[in-house]
């Protein structure tokens, strides 16, 4: 994805997260450097989505710290990561292009980059209106990803099977 900060590092230190009274993550530490991909694997309920949601800022950890070294200190961690969730973030009554442009400008990107990205992923010709979600999954996921590439966020965290990242 577009990376304005080449020396960014995601540092997680001694992270402990509880959900519903149960300790889901305990004492987790890792570092992800710029250009690296970290793949989490584990059975259902292992805490993969919990970790991602904690990084995004939805869940407050009980203990431990998360930080993005080399980044804008004014913005929260969740604002500088791009959480690509299970859903697409696409509204089906808007066209794919309208969805992508909204996200890009809302999140601080530029519209020329957006149009270029839409073309690069081959979805600038996606059928308009009401087809934002009825387009094939191949149409939908690139839209979510083009939102990633056009907004200035250095990290992307999609919680989906590795196969659909291809």
């Amino acid at each position: 994805m577009s990376s304005p900060g080449a020396r960014l590092e995601l540092v997680v230190d001694d992270l402990t997260v509880e959900r519903g009274g149960r300790t889901v993550i305990s004492g987790l530490s890792f570092v992800v450097k710029a250009g690296e991909v970290l793949v989490l694997t584990g059975h259902n309920g292992a805490g993969k989505t919990t970790l991602l949601r904690t990084l995004a800022g939805f869940i407050a950890p009980v203990r431990g710290s998360l930080s993005l070294t080399g980044s804008d200190a004014d913005r929260a961690l969740g604002e500088q990561l791009h959480y690509v969730g299970h859903a697409n973030g696409i509204r089906s009554s808007l066209t794919v292009a309208e969805n992508a442009r909204f996200w890009a400008s809302f999140l601080g990107g530029s519209s020329t980059e957006t149009d270029a990205a839409l073309e690069r992923f081959g979805i600038d010709t996606c059928p308009p209106a009401k087809s934002g979600a009825s387009g094939s999954p191949a149409c939908c996921s690139p839209s979510a990803l083009s939102g990633c590439s056009t907004s200035r966020r250095p990290h992307s965290m999609p919680p989906r099977p590795r196969s659909s990242l291809a």
Partner: protein
């Protein structure tokens, strides 16, 4: 354009594309206003006494028809999560959506009121009071975010919060229809209630949304 207005514009565009809500709201209000005298009989004294209440309750019910689902579509699409990690504080996200909701329900209702041959004071109270309905309703919508078929629950949850708006809206209209009454102070208190709702409701709604997200 700031993110706040981008979000308002997006919600308006979606409302126009998806269409149904405005017609439902206006149709509902029209039905209420038209059926009341038919159902209650031709006693014009009775009707003029209860008219302010009926007209205002109709406004309230119509305006909040679509309110329970204010955040639901965005929650289902995963849009809410991206909004929550965006540059706009969640309070302003809630405010933007409430504002867009008011534009698509409160304003059409206010415009329709004079067309029904109803009183100008009702228009004034509608313009002042309907924003409060949209904003207060967002609290209920946020609280019931992940509850299926939550329409009635939303209404019940926030009903007590609508009461000041209702009381002062009706009292303003009554002051004109069945004097004596204090039109000026009713309108001012109505305005104060709305301003309080504009300021406080987004905070409550955002807190409820955060509880759901985490």
């Amino acid at each position: 354009m700031s993110p706040f207005w981008m979000l308002v514009k997006r919600d308006l565009r979606i409302a126009v594309r998806e269409g149904a809500a405005i017609g439902t709201v206006l149709g509902f209000y029209l039905t209420v206003v038209a059926l009341m005298p038919l159902g209650l009989g031709p006693d014009s004294q009775l009707l003029s006494r209860i008219a302010p209440g009926v007209l205002w309750i109709g406004l309230l019910l119509a305006a909040q028809l679509s309110l329970g689902q204010l955040f639901e579509a965005d929650q289902d699409d995963g849009v809410l999560e991206v909004l929550a990690t965006g540059p706009l504080p969640l309070e302003l996200v809630a405010a933007a959506k409430s504002f867009a909701h008011w534009i698509t329900t409160g304003i059409p209702l206010t415009v329709m009121v004079p067309l029904l041959g109803v009183l100008p004071v009702l228009v004034a109270t509608a313009i002042i009071g309907t924003p409060a309905i949209s904003f207060i309703g967002s609290i209920g919508a946020a609280l019931t975010l992940k509850t299926r078929r939550s329409g009635v629950l939303t209404a019940l949850l926030v009903l007590p919060l609508y009461i000041p708006t209702l009381i002062f809206g009706i009292s303003a209209v009554t002051a004109v229809v069945a004097p004596p009454g204090n039109l000026g102070s009713s309108l001012l208190i109505l305005l104060a209630t709305t301003l309080a709702a504009l300021a406080l409701a987004p905070i409550a709604a955002a807190a409820a949304l955060r509880a759901h997200l985490g």
